[in-house]
Amino acid sequence: MPADHRSKSKKTVDKNSNEYRVRRERNNIAVRKSRDKAKQRNVETQQKVLELTTDNERLRKRVEQLTRELETLRGIFRQLPESSLVKAMGSCA
């Protein structure tokens, strides 16, 4: 059976007392604040995901384009005679 939190606290509460109402109001404000914050974080994450997805797409297209160009270039160099190439400096790709 689930625990009944309501009847297990030691203090007996007077729901009409000022102290109680003040405490309730403070807690209500805190709860609202906390929930608004969480909602805001969620909205921002949603926005970020959207942005990252479009960036992602753009970056993929760029990679595709560069890969195609490199393949074309490699094809050219395969056709060139060795004699017309200058020895590369540094490490070869």
Partner: protein
């Protein structure tokens, strides 16, 4: 004892079966609320994971682009160092068809702006 309990219900209208229904309703609502909160937090967690995953993918793609552009620069410099030695360029000007056939794209390969990003 079934006979005794129906007699009992007739005597006490605001009775245990009402209370029982109330308790059952409260319990159902409690479970539904718990389920709803769970779904909400799971949704938020999933979104957060998705965001992190996309960040990682984008970082990887940027690294790949960096590497590919390095390679392009390498080929571009190879081409410019090759230019003075190019047998096709140094020999007498061939008919245009030969140029396009050997280098299979629309511009002569030397210093093409296309390769100088």
């Amino acid at each position: 004892w079934r006979g005794c309990s129906s007699h009992f219900h007739a005597l006490f209208p605001q009775d245990s079966s009402d209370d029982m229904r109330k308790v059952q309703r409260r319990e159902k609502n409690r479970i539904a609320a718990q389920k709803s909160r769970l779904r909400q937090t799971q949704k938020a967690d999933t979104l957060h994971l998705e965001s992190e995953d996309l960040e990682r993918q984008n970082a990887a793609l940027r690294r790949e682009i960096k590497q590919l552009t390095e390679e392009m620069k390498h080929f571009a410099s190879m081409l410019s160092s090759h230019e003075p030695l190019c047998s096709i360029l140094t020999s007498p000007p061939p008919p245009p068809e030969v140029l396009y056939a050997t280098h299979s794209f629309h511009q002569p390969h030397i210093s093409s702006p296309r390769f100088q990003h």
